[in-house]
Symmetry: C2
Subunit: 442 residues, 2 copies
């Protein structure tokens, strides 16, 4: 057997995921060498405090606070510190030195991806980040490689486990948002400060990355319209359930081709995150608990779905290691590297230009002619109604009747739908608009 080359691996950060990556690099050293053709030597772990308690027992001598020096001497750098700085500077320094970089830093990629991609291209090294979207699920590589000969038209992703767990709890137990959030926090699925998850910011960063790879055009966080799940009520969930839907927080990236009024004549990509009604028979509807899944529609491949664990130290470490082995193989084989193709220049469309169906819940006066007036108003705004369902409630004490109206529209532009909802609010027969939610998959 020939002497095997050794590649030095620098690990930046040793949290939940980092500690598992370090453990696997040490425990599975032989298997990884067999896969790559080189020994992957963990040369050090840069942390803020070398004495912090870790999830995994690791050799104390590996720890250092001097990330800069560690990076200078590495063939492969794994960045799992999170946050913008010093992660950004360290990654750029590694790329400039000719090291391949593996990162799971979705916030940094969504905010400053283009700078990183360019630095990697310029240095001719690989920058990979499978762990940044949907944890363990191989999704970025299939989009970049397997679907490279196809045209993706639409991506719908459940990419945040915390919010999927909360919505699933609400759906299965009837709980209110606050109670489901508390349960998620108790079980470790939500952080003490859940803002980044429940407001959709985490999903928005992932949406930007998915859109960038799917449409070969660089999209940043500012191109993503973002709505979280804090205003989703138990009543919304119950009404959706009753109508055969489930509510999921989806990261959506879809190509809209010029089509007259609907897209306002513009060609482009709509990237957005919002609570969405999905038919219960849709493959994404079966994604329960904290699991993630990405549903892709492509011109030739048709419908594809990728399902798995979206978070957790060990599952996410699997994605990091996959990227690492792939980068190491390229280093062993030699030859130039390439990250991704972003040769397209499809503009990001504002939320107004997106085209969806709406679910609208209305509390209306129980008077003759109300349905006709509402239907007329929708038609006048160019929005076609798919289904309209009325339920009468009688208050036992006051004996006053009220009516609940549930409307699902056909696909129409966001602008037309928003105008319709505004106009509906102005009708004297409307007591209140109880919910307005977008619908996909119908």
């Amino acid at each position: 057997m020939t002497e095997m080359r050794t590649l030095k691996v620098a690990l930046l950060g040793c949290g939940n995921v980092g500690a598992q990556v370090a453990r696997i690099l040490i425990e599975d050293a032989d298997a990884l060498a067999a896969r790559t053709g080189a020994r992957l030597e963990l040369s050090g772990i840069a942390v803020r405090n070398v004495n912090s308690k870790r999830d995994v027992e690791l050799p104390q001598e590996l720890f250092t606070t001097d990330a800069e020096t560690l990076v200078k001497d590495a063939d492969l750098v794994i960045e799992l510190m999170g946050g913008i700085e010093p992660a950004r500077t360290l990654i750029l320094s590694a790329l400039t030195n000719g090291a391949c970089v593996v990162t799971g830093n979705k916030a940094l990629l969504a905010q400053d991806g283009p700078t990183l991609y360019e630095a990697a291209d310029k240095a001719g090294v690989q920058l990979s980040f499978e762990a940044a979207v949907a944890g363990a699920i191989p999704i970025l590589r299939p989009i970049r490689d397997s679907l490279s000969g196809d045209r993706i038209t639409r991506v719908l992703g459940i990419v945040n486990g915390t919010t999927n767990f909360i919505l699933d709890q609400m759906d299965s137990t009837g709980a209110q948002f606050a109670d489901a959030l508390a349960e998620a926090q108790r079980l470790g699925y939500a952080e003490a400060d859940p803002t980044a998850d429940v407001e959709g910011h985490d999903a928005a960063a992932k949406a930007a990355i998915l859109a960038t790879l799917s449409f070969h055009t660089r999209f940043a966080l500012e191109n993503v319209h973002c709505e979280g799940i804090t205003s989703v009520t138990a009543a919304d969930i119950a009404a959706a359930k009753d109508a055969g839907f489930v509510i999921k927080l989806l990261a959506i990236a879809e190509k809209l081709t010029a089509g007259g009024t609907e897209t306002d004549g513009k060609d482009g990509v709509s990237v957005r995150v919002h609570p969405t009604l999905l038919p219960r028979e849709h493959p994404l509807a079966a994604v329960r608990g904290a699991f993630n899944a990405v549903f892709i529609e492509a011109e030739n491949a048709g419908e594809l779905m990728f399902y798995g664990q979206g978070a957790g130290g060990t599952p996410t470490a699997s994605a990091v290691l996959g990227d690492l082995v792939s980068a190491a193989r390229r280093l062993v084989l030699g030859g130039p590297q390439r990250t991704e193709t972003t040769t397209g220049h499809v503009p990001a469309l504002p939320i107004d230009a997106s085209v969806t169906s709406y679910y609208i819940g209305l509390d209306v006066a129980d008077q003759p002619g109300v349905l006709a007036r509402i239907a007329q108003l929708f038609a006048g705004n160019g929005v076609s109604i798919e289904t309209m369902r009325q339920t009468i409630h009688r208050d036992a004490d006051s004996n006053v009747e009220s009516a609940e109206l549930r409307i699902v529209t056909h696909r129409a532009s966001e602008a037309a739908l928003a105008a319709t909802v505004e106009a509906v609010k102005g009708l004297d027969v409307i007591n209140s608009v109880t919910s307005v939610l977008r619908v996909e998959g119908v």
Copy 2:
């Protein structure tokens, strides 16, 4: 803009998939050039009869019967003729000439994969075959690349759309096998001679390929235990449904570690295809109609599932094009190529060594003590019973009572289970063994 290199693409075969590949190569030439950095020029299509009617209108001058000459002059060869010869000779000739080869030929790969892999390694060119397993679903590349830093422990695949359609029809309508098959033939999901599909041969070839890539060891068709679905009855399906299961034809590859009696002390991989009971809440249970899905369990990643269309000209063409773009990118970038790592040498285990649960349906005499005798017999063979359920039937005319007994066992070795079933048949209180089916996912 710099002058773009042109790569010559030879297409062998112009059936269902081939015609779509040719169409996309012509129609999407600009997009493919943008993705690869080279123009992919379809230099010719080798067919048996240049005047045959095709699914797609293609330039007549592309057609030739001289596959050998076409291959000699190509940078990239796409083999979609199927069958063993002349496909095998043409692929070897292409590889030896230094061309990258993309094929969807599962039969050839399962029978003679090692010869092809070695020829590709020796020539330093890429041999890829995403289309050979689960059509449009990117599954082989994720196994080879994304999961290369993990250890796959188990693969369960619905990899044959015809049989999944038939079983789904039987499950949803209560139809017998013959009627569901006729319906599948009427709709074009099954061929006039359905043997390769319904006997499990097609799934077995795919199981061999999945096992080879998942366990880094070369498995051939002869290592795969294969049972089809022709003996699955409407009664089996109904009983399974009643007990909360669905019957799927699964391609299974799983690692069994030495564990005493259960695996007979042997370490290895069990590769098999057979009708299998799955709990209805298992992600694979929701795979309906002719769709395919592959469920993977890995040590670090946990559970993953890949879902999509397993057949059809256009979806399968998407997988072929993905491989083609990937190979072309490598040619453009230069540097050596590498196919897959098969450095492991895990032996293929015989079916006797596999470990599963069993579902056993028995028609028994309704006498006191019968349940106890059966339970004792299972215990005596080292098979532990998970659930046992008895239903009494009374024939209205004869007034004779009979009892139906449904048993689900805990996991035990195939050998122990087979011995138990044999022993049960010998009991005088057993009228008949109505079904014996393996269970996974519990």
